[in-house]
Amino acid sequence: MATLEDAVPGSEVVHDGPADPRRRDYMQIGAVAFAGVGVGVIALPLINQMNPSADVLAASSTEIDVAAIQPGQAIKTTFRKQPLFVRNLTPAEIAAADAVAVSSLRDPQSLADRTKPGKTNWLITLGVCTHLGCVPLGAGEGENKGPFGGYFCPCHGSAYDTAGRIRQGPAPTNLHVPDYEFTSDTVVTVG
């Protein structure tokens, strides 16, 4: 890096390199750091493009009419392209869920924690096993509900009870309860 002083003719000091080697280091580090920041900034869109796109996010709320579901019945619908179970629990199933000591559970939650006040018979969960994402059985007519009367995952044998709580098998947590609200007595908006 030539400087004005170096350029003065007849200067008696003979340089092999620059007068102050740190000046060149400074330029070098600055240039590389500048390029590094540029690479980092360009990496952001390249990484972010893999996140769910606007149309996928737009399909993130679903309205369900639950009027036709009789006690003891369940339906399978979809929410964000994932299976969603809507189940109308019978009084016996509610009693079975309430009879379990919450502290004895792997993922301690009561049925009331997992439903809306006054609507404890409506169990709305994702139909995605929290182990590795298979669809548990038990929502359809005549499917195996497992040893706890709720849902049973055929892939690796996770068993859920009538509140969708993990009771046995490799799954770490209860079936996920998405955000939802009753917009009327019979219509639920999920998401």
């Binding site: 893999m50 996140n51 769910p52 796109s53 996928v56 399978k76 979809t78 964000r80 392209k81 994932q82 299976p83 792997r106 139909g127 995605v128 182990h131 590795l132 994402g133 298979c134 669809v135 995952c153 055929p154 892939c155 690796h156 044998g157 098998g169 490799p170 799954a171 770490p172």
Partner: protein, 435 residues
């Protein structure tokens, strides 16, 4: 680098001389896989499998590129486009069966290639880098095979994608975010299929690149051999061409015969019928199993059923990835200076035990998760880690190896009853009966 007695490329024709002065590509090939690469004279047929793996990759790339000309990456049409390849595209059934079974053949020869390396100690100094690059290639192959299996968008494709991306959700705190990022949605869908196709197209070329590094690293010390004894002088080696081009050519013929037999007579032997049902996000097949080449790792994943500090699911995922990552440390876990298991009377039996263990894991991986199988899988998984982390270092330290032959030539000549130039007490030791 090569041995000092390696032959030098000397173009005779004026055109080749002209080319050599400007772009020495023929010289490069001559030194890599031609007469310019001296190779130990005693290689057995297990040394065919590196070349066979290269041939299998070439077959996958060629059939894959032509299949991509007919495949539709849209989630609504992908399944039907594969069926159209099977029924309508000229010779499409042949190309698709060759590609699908080619993946199995590729993995099969690579598993034998890895087994060869384990038995003959090819991972030991000075070839550690060859081994490490090989493990990288294996990981890339697994990723490529998985993403390729998703593309037909059948039931097994869909649920395979769901389960395997589910591994990432085991990571604490950020796991679910990573899974959604990988899939581009909350479940496998159009976005996931498209990106898997893009990466499935890319990765084979990355594999080809790492293979070039793998061979480059191999050619620095030169090939290992069944005695594990280093090359000492010129009589220990023969030029790669024509000796091993011929031997590999014969092996390639046998490989292609088996490959053709599978394609023409049992093309669906290794597949799952459920994958001929279009993907249905609302119904999981009764029995999800991965392709045969992933079964031992799947068994390790399934073997963790009890939470211990962290959830069982996270243990399973860590152990499954750990079982492969462990191979990166193999050159430093095995401290025995003797390479070939032929001269390691204790180690070779533990190696047989490991092979049986992996076969048991493979069985458990594909079996129903009933109590007996789970316990069997747990014992076999524990033994797998025990082998590498405990047995191997102890055996390396305690074992008394058999006497090594003085040289490759001596081992070859004494085996054939010929008079070795140095048939002394030393080479006699190699023939001594087992302790």
């Amino acid at each position: 680098m090569s041995f000092p007695w390696a032959r030098h490329y000397e173009p005779k024709q004026p055109l080749m001389k002209w080319l050599d002065d400007r772009l020495p590509l023929p010289r490069f090939v001559y030194n890599a896989v031609g007469a310019g690469y001296p190779v130990p004279r005693n290689l057995n047929y297990f040394w065919n499998f590196g070349v066979l793996a290269g041939a299998a990759l070439a077959i996958q790339i060629v059939t894959g590129i032509v299949l991509a000309m007919h495949f539709s990456t849209d989630a609504n049409t992908a399944f039907n486009s594969v069926e159209s390849i099977m029924r309508d595209v000229n010779a499409g059934w042949f190309l698709r069966y060759a590609h699908a079974n080619g993946a199995s053949m590729f993995l099969a020869v690579v598993y034998i290639h890895i087994g060869r390396g384990l038995y003959y100690g090819s991972y030991k100094p000075p070839r550690e880098m060859v081994w490490l690059l090989g493990v990288v290639i294996f990981l890339l192959m697994m990723a490529t095979a998985f993403m390729g299996y998703v593309l037909p968008w059948g039931q097994m494709s869909f649920w395979g994608a769901q389960v395997i991306t589910g591994f990432f959700s085991a990571i604490p705190l950020v796991g679910e975010t990573i899974r959604v990022w990988l899939l581009g949605g909350y479940a496998p869908d159009a976005a996931a299929l498209n990106r898997f196709f893009s990466l499935h197209f890319l990765l084979p070329f990355v594999i080809a690149g790492v293979i070039i590094l793998h061979i480059w690293a191999l050619h620095i010390p030169g090939s290992n051999n069944p005695t594990g004894v280093e090359v000492k002088d010129e009589q220990d080696t023969v030029p790669f061409h024509p000796y091993y081009t011929a031997k590999d050519g014969f092996g390639l013929g046998v490989f292609l015969l088996i490959f053709a037999a599978v394609i023409f007579f049992a093309p669906n032997l290794l597949g799952h019928p459920d994958n001929y049902i279009p993907a249905n996000p609302l119904s999981t097949p009764a029995h999800i199993v991965p392709e045969w080449y992933f079964l031992p790792f799947y068994a390790i994943l399934k073997s963790f059923t009890i939470d211990f500090i962290v959830p069982a699911k996270l243990w399973g995922v860590l152990a499954m990835f750990g079982s492969i990552l462990l191979l990166f440390f193999l050159p430093w876990l095995d401290t025995s200076p003797v390479r070939s298991a032929n001269y390691r009377p204790v180690y070779r039996w533990f190696l047989v035990a490991l092979l049986v263990d992996v076969l048991i894991l493979g069985y458990v991986g594909g079996a129903e998760p009933i109590a007996r199988n789970i316990i069997m899988g747990q014992i076999a998984s524990a033994y797998y880690f025990l082998h590498f982390l405990v047995i191997l270092p102890i055996v390396s330290a305690m074992e008394r190896p058999r006497p090594l032959p003085g040289s490759i030539t001596e081992a070859v000549l004494s085996k054939h009853g010929g008079t070795s130039p140095a048939q002394t007490a030393m080479s006699g030791g190699a023939l001594a009966p087992a302790e």
